[in-house]
């Protein structure tokens, strides 16, 4: 015995204001399927717009879902998405600059310090997260340790450099942290490599030595160039950087 299902008629919007739905409980007020967000007057925006103003301005929506009208308009405020800068720019993350700085670190023989005059912490943060991730792939949970050690290492280098350079030392903590973070790139590559090479072997020791010397050379070059008076203490600063990167390489190889 076939059962008849009562399928209520689906009414598609045909543009313009629909006729006011008939009052009365019999006629269900269906939302149009699928749910059509109220389109704002600006067709270029890909995001949902929850503005009261644009909702009021648009005329093309119809049969709006019968939610309480104060949803979605909310307290987001009257500013549209037109005036806000892009998210990355607002956060200060300049991806192009990060990419250029990373490329400049890759060459240990020619140190371009003009790029690094503008210190930023987002590149180092990405590197440190990548470092932690590779360590995690090797089975070691070192995220907190890496962040803590980077902080202490940059304080160490800050004190050493400013004391050595005397009254003219103008390396500030932000730049110091940024430089140490960027020059961590070879160590990150080392930790990626160590996933494929047998642990504790001779190969990884030799590669570690090379990468630590690479890091040291780049870091010393950048610190000496950027803080413009460390040239006569190059060897002393190089030893301090060497100790710092040796400490991080310990985390990788063991």
């Amino acid at each position: 015995m076939a059962k008849e299902f009562n399928v209520p008629p689906v009414i598609f919007p045909s543009g313009g204001n629909p006729a006011a739905p008939a009052s009365g409980p019999q006629q269900r007020r269906l939302p149009t399927a699928p749910f059509q967000p109220p389109r704002s007057s600006n067709p270029g925006l890909p995001f949902l717009s929850f503005d009261i103003s644009s909702a009021a301005a648009s005329t093309s929506f119809s049969a709006a879902p019968q939610f309480p009208s104060n949803i979605g308009g909310g307290g987001i405020g009257g500013v549209g998405f037109d005036d806000e800068p892009p998210l990355l720019e607002e956060l200060g993350i300049n991806t192009k600059q990060i990419y250029q700085k990373t490329l400049s670190i890759l060459n240990p023989f020619r140190i371009n310090h003009h790029l690094h005059e503008d210190a930023d912490l987002s590149g180092p943060f990405i590197f440190l997260m990548a470092f932690g991730l590779f360590q995690l792939l090797a089975g070691k949970l070192h995220f907190g340790i890496i962040l803590g050690w980077v902080t202490m290492a940059s304080m160490f280098l800050y004190v050493i450099f400013n004391m050595l350079a005397g009254k003219n030392g103008n390396l500030d903590m932000y730049k110091c942290l940024s430089l140490i973070g960027y020059c961590m790139l070879p160590i990150v590559m080392l930790s990626a490599l160590s996933l494929f090479v047998p642990q504790g072997g001779m190969v990884i020791m030799v590669i570690t030595g090379l990468f630590v010397i690479w890091s040291t050379r780049v870091c010393t070059g950048l610190v000496v160039e950027l803080a413009n008076c460390g040239d006569e203490h190059r060897g002393l600063i190089a030893y301090a950087c060497f100790l710092i990167y040796m400490l991080f390489s310990l985390l990788v190889i063991f």
Partner: protein, 257 residues
């Protein structure tokens, strides 16, 4: 500039607070200025490559030093010359670097010989090393006080605190050498022998170094109003004690487990 200003402000506040507290307790004799005003740490970092190389040679082989042990004075006799011009001047760069090198080498040793590395072990080594540094400082301070006329008699020892800290920190050069010997690849049956030999050698060197430094301080830098305040015999025994105390200290530092 701002840093100089800040350090002077803080130093002044601490000095005022300290002297208030001590006056309240009736201890007027203690000259706290050398503890409260850690004056001018920049002086201890005026080093260059050549100074570091020569000073390391001096620390590792003090008995081969043909020159004098006196510290040179500035031209106007107001203060001592900085480390760049005088090999006998104390500095803080070498002790700091030697300390970090020692901690790193100890971590390497722990891994290579016991296959047991955790990042916490570096923290443990760091704390142990700091404690040892502190004990060395206390030993030197005790020596200077006991030979400088004793406490309570109004004698003032004018050696700045950071000087003593830096002399005490030279131990870590020896400790780093000992750890390097332990870490370097060598046949296993000689491991214990090499460790003992290296520690004995370094303790001897450190003993000689510290004795010479303390003797110079006592003879030249401390104003002793009555030269007969202590006997030379007593002085020699105390210096011998200082040298002998280096042996257990270096054994403790080298015994990483």
């Amino acid at each position: 500039m701002y840093e100089e200003f800040k350090s002077h402000e803080i130093a002044n506040v601490l000095y005022a607070t300290g002297s208030d507290i001590l006056t309240a307790y009736g201890e007027k004799n203690i000259n706290i200025s050398r503890y409260m005003c850690v004056n001018n740490p920049r002086y201890y970092f005026q080093v260059n490559d050549e100074y570091v190389k020569n000073k390391l040679k001096l620390i590792l082989f003090p008995f081969l030093h043909k020159g004098r042990w006196m510290r040179a004075m500035e031209d106007d006799s107001s203060s001592f010359k900085s480390a760049m011009h005088d090999i006998n001047a104390p500095d803080l760069y070498i002790p700091l670097m030697a300390f970090v090198t020692y901690v790193l080498l100890a971590a390497f040793f722990l891994v290579l010989c016991f296959c047991r590395f955790s990042p916490e072990s570096i923290g443990v080594q760091f704390s142990t090393g700091l404690m040892c540094w502190l004990m060395q400082v206390l030993l030197l301070e005790g020596t200077l006080h006991s030979l400088g006329g004793g406490g309570g008699s109004g004698e003032i020892i004018l050696v700045p605190l950071l000087d003593v800290v830096s002399y005490a920190g030279y131990t870590f050069v020896g400790a780093a050498v000992v750890m390097a010997v332990r870490v370097s690849p060598h046949p296993v049956r000689w491991a214990h022998l090499m460790f003992c030999g290296a520690t004995l050698w370094e303790s001897f060197c450190m003993g000689v170094l510290l004795v010479k430094i303390v003797k110079r301080i006592l003879v030249f830098e401390v104003p002793i109003f009555d030269k007969q305040m202590y006997s030379t015999n007593k002085r020699n025994y105390v210096l011998l004690f200082v040298a002998a105390a280096q042996f257990p200290q270096l054994f403790w530092l080298g015994n990483v487990h």
